[in-house]
Amino acid sequence: MFGIEDKYVSLAYLLCIASSLLCVVYGLLNWNRGQEETREEDVRWAQEEKHVEEEL
């Protein structure tokens, strides 16, 4: 297939394209799903992370 001699290498080539497409389709289907309110713990975490960054 595609000039590739070995079916397992052809399979790897196809799976690379297929898994990339899977990511695109999944991302588009769930584009607006999973929105979450920012919780207190998120803000607290971000403030501490800012502090960690400053120290570097």
Binding site: I4, S19, C23, Y26, W31, Q35, K50, E55
Partner: protein, 597 residues
């Protein structure tokens, strides 16, 4: 020196301009609060393109492009199994399955590093310090792989000494790190990701176009199978579009175990427990950003490693058809119909006499070159060889050699920026991990003090950069970039993955189980690298003293000396985690509700 090299004013100006833009973006991000954390503090969302590009630029480095691309040039397209893992495991599984709970748990437990996440999940100082030390000690090895990848290209493209390239490259990286590169400014990363994407996309299109299209290019590569050098044929190489011979118990299966266990599994699975990548998950605002990043990330990775591995393999087809001609006498005809032969390389001396270059043979595709009558009478033929021959026997030189010989000069410059971007984004996250692991995870935990933490962080980073430079100076040759990367990824998988995944999804996993699993994964990996895996054990040298000169304690058991530590260490680490969990007291309900709520 510069006058003798290929470095011109244009090259220097473009690189300086690029660095100025990156530094400006970094400064802009710093002064106007545009790091990922700032977005989260302000409760704003990061554009999914920026998030995915940032993650991708951190994930993919010169190691993947130059190191593993070169491995593909040597071993062929079977390495594409790693690209499949990069996309399916490194993006899909990582973002869809692991990232949401890792992000939530990280925020709940107020964890800011990967060791801290593990330490707080298991309420164990030992876990955090141990993980911090492993990262601090071994991440410079991976950083060295990234440095070597950049320097191999710079030295080839601009015809300058490798050590000069290493010095210049290290100074640029150190300056970038010092000037705010560690702060994870999303727009700098996104710019770097975009340059990488553009560079690799052009490389793919150019290569397929030069070789006559997708199918024609692959067919031309398939036809070259008889040119595989004897040393590779004897370990199972059957051509650049074929899988290596599969089996166990015979040296002719060695290559299959190298490609699948070290190259594919070591790196393909190890990505899930990469400390610098796990922390990225925590910086997003919600699961929606992760979902969106999956779409961009999936495309980004195929254009990175998919292209590097395909072009690396196809470089053989290009060079065997359009590379610099070689002259010599046919020592062995491999395929009369296809004109494939082994050539004893010969050169004409000043007196016009053809003489053999001693010991220099090359597998070539013959063609009718312009030879004078005397040469024809002497039986001299012309041919073009495969990538590794033009690369002087080093897989790490295959991609740089191909870019220099096949691509236009302007592309060499774009590719330099691509590699600079790939190296800078990955190295900054690696040194970020070095600093936090030694400061926050080791020093603060052991001393229970915070006041000198900044000094420890920065000293740790400087030590990390120096160690990475020393590795890059001393460890060259073979396919060291891919091997060094695989060691770090495999070590992370074996030592951390069961504790990390167990901690996210299995409430029954206990502190003693996590400790035992991490120590077992580390010890088995270290043992395997010191005494069993011939490539590494042989170089370290301890095993020779033990066995009287053998490079592996299993030297006489075929295939074992090329099997990656991960194949043994990860199952051991998983089994230990499960068995010890079932034998020890479950964690308190109170702590579980704090972790999972």
């Amino acid at each position: 020196m510069l006058a003798q090299s290929g470095v011109g004013l244009t090259q220097i100006l473009v690189v300086v301009l690029y660095l100025l833009v990156v530094v400006y973006l970094g400064w802009l991000g710093y002064s106007r609060t545009k790091t990922a954390t700032d977005y989260l503090v302000a409760g704003r969302k990061i554009h999914p393109f920026v998030m995915a590009m940032s993650y991708g630029a951190t994930f993919i480095s010169t190691s993947a492009i130059v190191g593993f691309g070169g491995v593909a040039g040597l071993f062929g397209m079977s390495v594409l199994w790693l690209t499949f893992c990069n996309i399916f495991v490194g993006i899909f599984i990582a973002f869809v399955v692991l990232a949401p709970p890792a992000r939530r748990m990280g925020h709940r437990l107020d964890a800011h590093t990967f060791p801290e996440l593990l330490g707080r999940r298991y309420e164990s100082k030992f876990v955090q310090v141990f993980a911090g030390l492993v990262i601090f000690l071994f991440i410079p090895l991976y950083a060295a792989a990234v440095l070597i990848g950049g320097c191999e290209f710079i030295s080839t493209q601009f015809n300058i000494d490798y050590n000069v390239a290493l010095l210049v490259f290290s100074v640029i990286i150190a300056a970038y790190v010092v000037m705010g590169g560690l702060k994870g400014v999303m727009y700098s990363d996104a710019l770097q990701g975009s340059i990488m994407f553009l560079g690799m996309l052009i490389l793919l299109i150019f290569t397929y176009a030069k070789l006559g299209g997708v199918t024609r290019a692959h067919t031309r590569l398939t036809d070259l199978a008889p040119l595989v050098p004897g040393s590779l044929q004897s370990i199972g190489h059957r051509g650049w579009t074929a899988m290596p011979a599969f089996g166990f118990g015979d040296p002719k299966y060695n290559l299959w175990w190298i490609v699948i266990s070290t190259i594919t599994l070591g790196v393909g699975i190890g990505v899930l427990a990469q400390p610098q990548l796990v922390v990225r998950f925590m910086t997003v605002k919600s699961r929606r950003e992760l979902n969106r990043a999956v779409a961009v990330g999936g495309v980004f990775i195929i254009i990175m490693t998919g292209v590097a591995f395909t072009v690396g393999s196809l470089s053989n087809a290009y060079l065997a058809n359009y590379g610099d001609p070689m002259t010599g006498r046919v020592a062995k005809m491999l395929d009369e119909d296809k004109g494939l032969a082994v050539l004893q390389i010969m050169t004409k001396n000043d007196a016009g006499v053809w003489t053999e270059v001693e010991g220099k043979m090359a597998p070539v595709k013959l063609f009718e070159g312009e030879l004078d009558a005397a040469a024809q009478e002497a039986g001299i033929r012309t041919g073009r060889s495969i990538s590794v021959v033009y690369a002087g026997g080093s897989a790490d030189q295959i991609i740089p050699t191909y870019i220099t010989k096949a691509m236009p000069t302007w592309f060499g410059l774009l590719f330099l920026l691509t590699l600079l971007a790939a190296a800078m984004s990955t190295l900054s996250s690696q040194f970020h991990a070095v600093g936090t692991s030694i400061g926050r995870d080791v020093y603060e935990q052991l001393t229970e003090r915070h006041e000198h933490s900044i000094i420890v962080n920065r000293t740790g980073i400087i030590i990390g950069i120096i160690i990475a430079m020393l590795w890059s100076y001393y460890a060259r040759g073979g396919y060291i970039i891919a091997r060094a990367t695989a060691i770090f990824f495999g070590l992370c998988a074996s030592a951390f993955l069961p504790a990390f995944i167990g901690g996210l999804f299995w409430k029954r996993i206990t502190r003693p189980a996590a400790i035992a699993s991490m120590v077992a994964g580390f010890v088995v990996t270290a043992f395997w690298l010191l005494f069993v895996k011939a490539a590494e054990a042989g170089d370290i040298g301890l095993v020779q003293k033990l066995t009287g000169g053998q490079r592996s304690i299993l030297a006489n058991s075929h295939n074992w000396p090329v099997v990656d530590p991960l194949v043994v260490a990860l199952p051991v680490s998983v089994i230990v985690a499960v068995v010890v969990s079932l034998l020890t007291k479950p964690p308190s309900q109170e702590h579980m509700s704090r972790c999972f709520k």
